[in-house]
């Protein structure tokens, strides 16, 4: 770790490298949640230092180093966020396995080189990958699963070799390989995108490996939960455009596991900005991998959803967002996240304030309204966070 900091420091010395840019942010955050009559809080201090350099014309190298320190309640028991009816069935000797420690972390978030020509670019290394037009979720993004409560937060980098080509102004193609242990387990993805009038349309095909944890079975070798990996193929696409002054988008994928049942995911949304500046948006998300009857949610469903192994707990979700710039540098918003299947929902009021130049404050609360056992019921607990981001 100290070597990484030393390297960054040396690189930042004027003259040490040509055209080197060093920037990033420091982000302290306080998060708290009230669940099962207990209040837990977690403070984090996150530092991200980016370096970027144009080595020679058309060749760019970039990396970011992230340090993450936790304070407060650093040990969380996941069973505290699972309905009591399920948690109580877990044998006492297995309960320690459900403990999730928040350990300090230092890592390279991204580290890549990018060679770009007029209409072609190749990026190799650990890099941000994001696909799809959905706001709260992206079914065609086989690399990331967004947190619907904080959907715009940056995602981890992924090791990949990516080729982008743009033969015409509004026509682009992407080919991507994300190496696995062998060719079979390597993620392969192709995507083609074209603009037609006021719409952008894309089609995507991918083969990827998916890992699922069975939170009810113990692997005696690792003494942790059994993890299984399967290969899946997905055919999908997305679109974004507008009709009159209503923004429209949709994104979907049909997933074909080599073993197991096929399923599909679809998200569709609309948005509009009123004359007074109020921004309104709504999305519908269907995930047939998830259960439609909330009474059938089991421990695996809950924990896989928490760990980001599945995109949703409920099959049908509705999202809403309203945003308004209250005064010059202060915006307010309200998100609504609902499970259509069980009628539970979460209200997420938020405030964004550009406190000073390069200093942003975000306050977000989540109030869950629903009976225990439902997707957005009291099980998960209500809470929120206060996040400050200081850019440099």
């Amino acid at each position: 770790m100290s070597r990484a900091i030393l390297a960054l420091t040396l690189l930042a010395v004027p003259g040490a490298a040509a055209d080197l840019d060093v920037f990033g942010y420091y982000e302290p955050q306080y998060a708290g949640t009230w669940a099962k009559e207990n209040y837990r809080h977690l403070m984090s201090n996150r530092l991200r230092v980016d370096i970027k350099s144009t080595v020679v014309e058309n060749v760019e190298a970039g990396a970011d180093f992230v340090g993450l320190l936790y304070h407060g309640t650093k040990i969380w028991n996941l069973l505290d966020f699972v309905p009591e009816s399920l948690a109580s069935t877990v044998p006492a000797k297995l309960r320690p396995l459900y403990v999730l420690p928040f350990a300090d972390r230092f890592y390279l978030g991204d580290a890549y080189a990018r060679v770009s020509f007029q209409r072609v670019a190749v990026t190799a290394g650990k890099q941000q990958l994001s696909f799809g037009t959905g706001y709260f979720a992206n079914p065609t993004d086989v690399f990331n699963i967004k947190d619907a409560f904080d959907p715009t937060y940056e995602q981890p980098g992924h090791n990949a070799l990516r080729l982008d080509a743009q033969p015409r102004s509004r026509v682009s193609m992407t080919g991507l390989l994300a190496p696995g242990a062998d060719w079979k387990s390597t993620t392969k993805l192709v995507r083609a995108k074209a603009g037609f009038g006021r719409f952008d349309l894309s089609v995507l095909g991918a083969e990827f490996e998916h890992t699922a944890t069975d939170f009810k079975a113990i692997d005696t070798l690792t003494m942790w939960f059994v993890r299984t990996t399967d290969r899946r193929r997905v055919l999908g696409g997305d679109m974004v455009g507008q009709v009159w002054e209503i923004g429209l988008w949709a994104e979907g994928g049909y997933f074909m596991p080599v073993q197991g049942e096929e399923y599909y995911e679809l998200i569709a949304g609309i948005d509009h900005t009123l004359d007074n500046g109020l921004y309104l948006m709504a999305e519908y998300h269907r995930n047939t991998q998830a259960r439609a009857d909330w009474r059938q949610y089991d421990t695996n469903d809950w924990l896989r959803s928490m760990f980001g192994e599945t995109r949703t707990l409920a099959r049908d979700q509705g999202y809403g967002l309203a945003r308004y710039q209250l005064i010059d540098l202060l915006g307010i918003g309200l998100m609504g996240i609902a499970s259509i299947n069980d009628g539970s929902f979460a209200l997420v009021p938020m405030v964004d304030w550009n406190l000073f130049e390069n200093v942003d404050l975000t306050l977000m609360a989540n109030v869950l309204v629903g009976d225990e056992g439902k997707a957005y019921g009291s099980t998960l607990g209500s809470g929120g966070f206060l996040r400050c981001r200081v850019w440099f």
Binding site: F23, S116, A121, Q166, I246, L329, W391
Partner: protein, 253 residues
């Protein structure tokens, strides 16, 4: 409308002094229109927002335009929180894409987003985008000449045509008679032609590559009490910008 502000900011220009003092409003508008749209432009501008409470926020960005404003690209250089973000506008800003370098995500915005403020400034996306619909969007009438900034100016009144989707119902502008540069523009509210909404003042006109170019702009929002000033740091018109700059890949370079 959008063409007008964008053109004013990016590339206000004039060619020949007006010989005919009795030109009609449409003729003046044509002359201004002919000159405010250089085929290509590349510049660097500093935008300072002054809030209603007197706070300041400053942005430095690079602009590229081609096809007389048909294609425009804005890339933020400062401050750190927006560094690297880019906005691509094609088809006279009817198609807008934004690029967020930290998440490597491109997002296409619908037309309604054009009304939104650009980084909280008094300029909207629409204001900043190019366009060539000025004559199509408004009826022009010439009013009595007046002096602005000590210079004789043509005064024109533009009234939005029926069915137009321009954001302002009426515009008053004062055009320098010698350089054909608009020196002051008053914008009236979308729904109330008598409600004065914004004022743009252009000053410090210098000749760049043969084209008179204001180096200072000040937009004041009469209704919100906020203002945004812009300073041209660099501007060039004799450039050859490649078409591939105005693509999603170009945004990311």
């Amino acid at each position: 409308m959008k063409r007008f502000i964008a053109s004013t900011i990016m590339m206000l220009a004039a060619t020949l002094p007006l010989a005919a003092q009795e030109m009609s409003a449409d003729q003046i508008l044509d002359r201004v229109s002919e000159t405010v749209e250089p085929e290509q432009a590349h510049g660097k501008l500093r935008m300072t927002i002054t809030t209603s409470t007197g706070e300041h926020r400053t942005f430095l960005y690079e602009t590229f335009s081609k096809g007389s404003g048909d294609k425009a690209l804005i890339k933020y250089i400062e401050p750190s929180r927006v560094k690297g973000q880019a906005i691509l506008m094609l088809n006279d800003a009817n198609d807008i894409w934004t690029w967020f370098p930290r998440t490597k995500r491109v997002r296409k915005l619908a037309t309604h987003a054009k009304k939104q403020k650009l980084e909280g400034s008094d300029f909207s996306y629409e204001d900043m985008g190019g366009g060539d619909e000025f004559r199509e969007e408004f009826y022009a009438t010439r009013l009595k000449d007046e002096r602005v900034q000590g210079r004789p100016c043509y005064k024109l009144e533009l009234v939005r045509r029926e069915g137009s989707d321009a954001s302002y119902s009426r515009i008053l502008l004062w055009v320098d008679q010698e350089q054909l540069v608009p020196l002051t523009i008053h914008y009236y509210h979308d729904r109330d032609p008598q409600l004065w909404e914004k004022e743009l003042v252009c000053s410090d006109v210098r000749v760049v590559d043969g084209i008179p170019t204001p180096f200072r702009y000040s937009m004041h929002n009469q209704l919100e009490g906020t203002s945004t000033s812009m300073e041209t740091v660099e501007m060039r018109y004799d450039v050859d910008l490649p078409d591939d700059l105005f693509t999603e890949l170009g945004m990311q370079r």
